[in-house]
Amino acid sequence: MSKLFLGPSMRRIAAAGLFAGWMMASPLAAAGDPAAGADVYKSECAECHAVKEGRNKKGPSLFGIVGRKAGSVTDYNYSDALRKTTWVWTAEQLHTYLSQPAKQANPGTKMKYDGLSDAKDLDDLLSYLSTLH
């Protein structure tokens, strides 16, 4: 059986295509304003999460968070509770997770967050997080 081999540039193009397709299929991510979401990130998330790739704080880097399997940043020490989930951080999953206290969404998690109750702020945040690739 023949295999399809892609060079690095082709892989990037393919990944971008997949991401674009996913964005188009994700109304939650598309509903918000990424610029406003950057402000929400700074006031709600930035103390514990960096957006730089490979930069982990109390929480793991948010670079590439949308579409990433939960608990998959290799050099971050996750809680058992999060590591045991089979979640993928789709916009829908992030919306569910962030709209309630973290310890309610994932009992046993290390994350201390009371949840984001403002629907617009949450849409904006998800839209911003979707740009972090």
Binding site: D39, K42, S43, E47, R55, N56, K57, K58, D75, N77
Partner: protein, 447 residues
């Protein structure tokens, strides 16, 4: 600092060259750092996460929580060496006297976590004392045991114990004078003020139990005793500044604090009561500090940060002896004095900032205790402009930090007046309050 202040205040005019030392010491206080790179290495956080200006000292709500959690928060990547250093070079131009440029301070910080429940902050400070000599002393100490993530009636609860050497230094809101590292200078002053004559700051040892309930209600109870003069001497302090012997000392703190992410506000009360023998072989004075503090922070998206605080501490004194003046006057047996500090800080992109501080030290007339005019009132201001280019998530380096600051310290009233504040006799050169002013430029490097 405060012991110098008292001595200088009582000096004859021939010693006026020393008065610039008052301003210098205040400037050093204003440049004190709390942004410790060892904490950044431990947590993976940027200095700017805990401090509004990336070099400190003004705390964000996140920084307050780090302090409340006993300096134990971590990024979970194993043990980090809890050691940092700081060097400060300062050019000082006093209103009267020669300008100087010196490496004014070198600090060693032992700061960080030992376990999930044990952490601390210890500062060892070497201050330039002239002629290329330095005096090394044990500065602030705050060692903590903390129990986190407890629950009471379904609400979050944090309980901890702090062992520290300055009442108020351990406070999370960091508005009280010992936590803000500055208080109104003058010839009288409260127990909680690090600028008071014979201050308790760094010369006592105490322990307190604190709790934070539901993330908003903060309470603390503790006690202190002064270090023996021999120990103060060994720790680098001149025994002329001895705070005296303390007995039946109690510290109480209660505050409401609300973190709204984009804003923060708090309101609190504080009390410190003691019986003090100063000198130690003398009679005992009953002293009780009662104070309140209000703070507000606009944090927004951290582009423009505005922080405001006001602290008013009243001290009631019942003197153990009746002093007799040279003209047969008897000094009052009771007095009430006040220390007030109002501070406004604006920070742009956590990099550029301006800090305005207005300080009042006031008390009743007392011709015996407060020579030459019987008026202890003093008014002063501290104005600082700073640049802190590093310490953010996207900074060139996260293992070191830099702050360049220009500070203007000014007195508008000392010993109750602006002119001839030390009562120089006719023919002698009088000193005005403005002669105590000073301007400085400093560069601080933390690593």
């Amino acid at each position: 600092m405060p012991s110098f202040l008292l001595r200088f205040a009582m000096c004859r005019p021939t010693h006026r060259s020393l008065w610039s030392g008052i301003a210098l010491l205040l400037l050093m206080a204003s440049n004190a750092a709390h942004a410790i790179p060892a904490y950044a290495r431990q947590t993976g956080s940027a200095c700017a996460d805990c401090h509004a200006g990336a070099y400190g000292p003004q705390l964000t709500p996140y920084g307050m929580r780090f302090k409340l959690n006993g300096y134990t928060d971590t990024d979970g990547k194993g043990f980090k060496v809890p050691v940092s250093g700081q060097l400060t070079e300062t050019h000082t131009a006093p209103a009267r006297g020669n300008s100087t440029t010196n490496l004014t301070e070198g600090d060693l910080y032992l700061a960080g976590r030992l376990t999930d429940n044990l952490g601390g902050y210890v500062k060892i400070e070497a201050d330039h004392t002239g002629h290329n000599t330095y005096n090394t002393k044990l500065s602030n100490v705050d060692l903590r045991f903390v129990a986190k993530e407890l629950k009471m009636r379904g609400k979050d609860l944090t309980l901890g114990v702090s062992v520290n050497n300055s009442p108020g230094f351990q406070d999370p809101i960091a508005a009280l004078p010992n936590a803000a590292l500055i208080g109104p200078p003058g010839v009288t002053g409260t127990l909680l003020n690090p600028s008071s004559p014979n201050t308790l700051t760094d010369r006592v040892i105490g322990a307190s139990v604190y709790g934070l309930y539901d993330s908003v209600w903060y309470g603390e109870v503790g006690t202190y005793k002064s270090l023996p003069t021999s120990q103060q001497d060994r720790l680098g302090y001149n025994i002329n500044g001895d705070p005296g012997k303390l007995g039946d000392t109690g510290y109480f703190r209660f505050a409401y604090m609300k973190d709204l992410k984009r804003q923060f506000f708090s309101a609190g009360v504080v009390a410190l009561t003691t019986k003090r023998q100063l000198p130690r072989s003398g009679p005992s004075d009953d002293l009780t500090d009662l104070g309140y503090d209000l703070t507000y922070q606009y944090l927004g998206n951290r582009e423009h940060i505005v922080q405001a605080s006001y602290v008013n501490i009243m001290e009631r004194r019942h003197y153990g002896t009746r002093l007799l003046g040279p003209d047969g006057f008897v000094a009052p047996g009771r007095a009430t004095v006040h220390d007030q500090t109002a501070t406004l800080t604006y920070t742009f992109r956590q990099t550029y900032g301006v800090v305005l501080t207005h300080m009042l030290s006031t008390g009743p007339r007392d011709a015996v205790r407060y020579t030459p005019y019987g008026d202890p009132n003093a008014t002063s201001n501290l104005i600082t402009v700073f640049w802190a280019p590093f310490g953010k998530d996207d900074s060139y380096t996260t293992i070191a930090n830099l702050k360049i600051a220009a500070t203007w310290f000014r007195f508008t009233r000392f010993n109750g007046r602006y002119t001839n504040i030390f009562g120089a006799p006719p023919g002698a050169l009088p000193t005005s309050a403005g002669d105590l002013n000073a301007f400085s430029v400093s560069a601080s490097l933390a690593f």
